[in-house]
Amino acid sequence: MDLSTEICGIPLDSPVLNGSGTFDPLAARRAFGDALIEDFPFAAFVSKTITRKTRVGNPPHRLWEAPSGLINSIGLPNPGLEAFVAGDLIELTGLPVPLIVSVMADSAEEFSLLVETISEVDGVAGIELNVSCPNVHSGLIVGEQPKETEALMKELRPLTDLPLIIKLTPNVANPHEVAIAAEAGGADGISMINTIKAAAIDRVHSRTWLGAGAGGLSGPAVRPIALAQVRAVSTAVEIPVIGMGGVEDADTALEFILAGARVVAIGTENFRDPQAGSKVRKGLAGALERRGFESLQAAQASTLS
């Protein structure tokens, strides 16, 4: 079965991407060698989130295993824009698939710098905007506020020809309101869901376990929540949705497509199985057939009754 598709004009061999921050091809290359490149698990690669300045990330602990899920508080460690562009980015553009760079900032000015700088690099296919961070000017978390989101999109949209995909936060009452605002501001696509605010308690010492005090939940535990949000958003906007949150196999990937996502992304499942992306891709034809779909397009076009 032909699984090729596209997202925001980026051609894809399959509808299976990775979630930002859940796969590092450079480290994986050290562990797995060239086999990683020869059988690259994703149809496009989404980088971890890059900020303007270097971030070392949060103090340990950064992980807590939850029932059918994972809480992380990694803290977006990254080399910062300059070092990223001069280093890792060059290697990432050499991957055999389109590259989407994820960026985050705490002001429109910094976001602009990130978008403009990344856009100048050859081999970048798209930019994902991580808006789960407070705006230094308003103190508000951009992605929680439709107005802030729309204003940010309007500022960034003219700065690049690359598609701009906005990664929504799930920690809101009505994600579709933020999605509608993002679309109005010129977003080309929506990526969702990011992790859900969560806490973990050290069972021995009765204190918070995570070094940063709190974290975000991902994995199968959040899938029912992600499906509800993807459905609400995809029926509210025209732009395509990259659906994620607990995808663990082809069947659950297809659930996201049925809920309205154009393509899906694999996050935490990568940690359980380094080849999770390939596993999902390889299982999709069978999953589509079992549900009576003749093509991926038919599933993408279907709506839930």
């Binding site: 921050g21 859940t22 796969f23 590092d24 450079l26 480290a27 994986a28 290359r29 050290r30 562990a31 797995f32 060698g33 086999a35 990683l36 059988d39 971890k48 070392v56 990330g57 949060n58 103090p59 340990p60 602990h61 950064r62 992980l63 807590w64 295993e65 939850a66 029932p67 059918s68 899920g69 994972l70 992380n72 990694i74 460690p77 290697e91 050290d202 204190r207 918070t208 376990w209 995570l210 070094g211 994995g219 199968p220 535990a221 935490t268 990568n270 940690f271 359980r272 199985d273 380094p274 080849q275």
Partner: protein, 284 residues
């Protein structure tokens, strides 16, 4: 991209048969047959998922668990990987309950292995292995590798009591190994680091190389003893891991410069002077 000379893991998570299991003191030993992987280097680990029932009553274990390889026999194509398990939670509980005929899902080998003594210190005359508790596992495979290369080594192992000294006889053989028991039930009464101090006192410090794995407190004591005596040392650390191959950035251990290393790719073996403290990864 960084490419180093550590063994390259097959790019997959593969099903491996459980060949043999038995108790060993307070621990449990099991052997898996890996038909695809290369021979691991000492200090490397695998990410393991035991049997069909990963995820118990409470939805955990969900992620695979990092386990050091304690011994390897056989040849690529039918490697026999031996693991030593300390039952501390739901994941190790399932591993400790494995029986021949069952399977595990395995990815790896992963991580930075121990360096050979001469690479750590060109003047190295031999190696001192300092292990405690379940931390004896990576030292066992290291010791065999040293023996194979004809590098002289002395092994110092510490345990709470005899009941918790499982695996010593079969993994090390008793002759060349000196044991410390906190409860004095045999060997030296006290800590293994007492033995290390004695050994180092009798040595030319310039020619000693120390390898250590064990509880954070012990590792930290070894690290500072070596730092003070100017002895080169490598420590095999632990930290909670989700992936084992650099994908999650969860296994951070603070370095001396205020940044963090990813223990699964930049470790689990680190040199004593790389890290701020062997205990920092433990407590938030």
């Amino acid at each position: 991209m960084v490419v180093d000379d550590r063994p390259i893991a097959p790019f997959n998570r593969r099903e491996c048969a459980v060949a043999e299991t038995h108790p060993a003191g307070g621990y449990r030993v099991f052997t898996l047959v890996d038909e695809q992987g290369p021979e691991p280097d000492p200090g490397q680990f695998y990410m393991l998922t035991a049997g069909d029932h990963w995820q118990g009553e409470a939805g955990r274990p969900y992620l695979p668990r990092a386990i050091s390889v304690a011994a390897v026999t056989g040849n690529p194509g039918a490697l026999r990987l031996m693991f030593l398990i300390d039952e501390v939670g739901p994941g190790t509980r399932l591993m400790a309950a494995l029986e021949p005929g069952q399977t595990c899902l395995l990815a790896g080998p992963f991580g930075r292995p121990f360096s050979m003594p001469k690479a750590l210190n060109p003047k190295a005359a031999g190696a001192i292995l300092v292990g405690g508790g379940i931390g004896i596992a990576p030292l066992a495979i290291l010791r065999r590798a040293l023996v194979k290369r004809g590098v002289p080594s002395r092994t110092l192992l510490g345990f709470r009591d005899r009941a918790h000294s499982g695996g010593v006889d079969e993994l090390f053989g008793c002759e060349e190994t000196r044991l410390a028991f906190e409860d004095g039930s045999s060997g030296h009464r006290g800590y293994v680091t007492d033995l290390l101090l004695k050994v180092l006192a009798g040595d030319d410090p310039g020619g000693a190389v120390v390898y250590s794995c064990g509880p954070p407190m012990m590792l930290e004591a070894v690290r500072s003893i070596c730092a003070e005596s100017g002895t080169a040392c490598e420590l095999a650390l632990e930290s909670p891991m989700a992936c084992g191959f650099g994908a999650c950035f969860g296994c951070a251990v603070p370095k001396t410069d205020g940044t963090y290393l990813r223990l699964c790719v930049d470790g689990p073996v680190v040199s004593g002077d790389e890290i701020a403290s062997a205990m920092a990864g433990e407590a938030a």
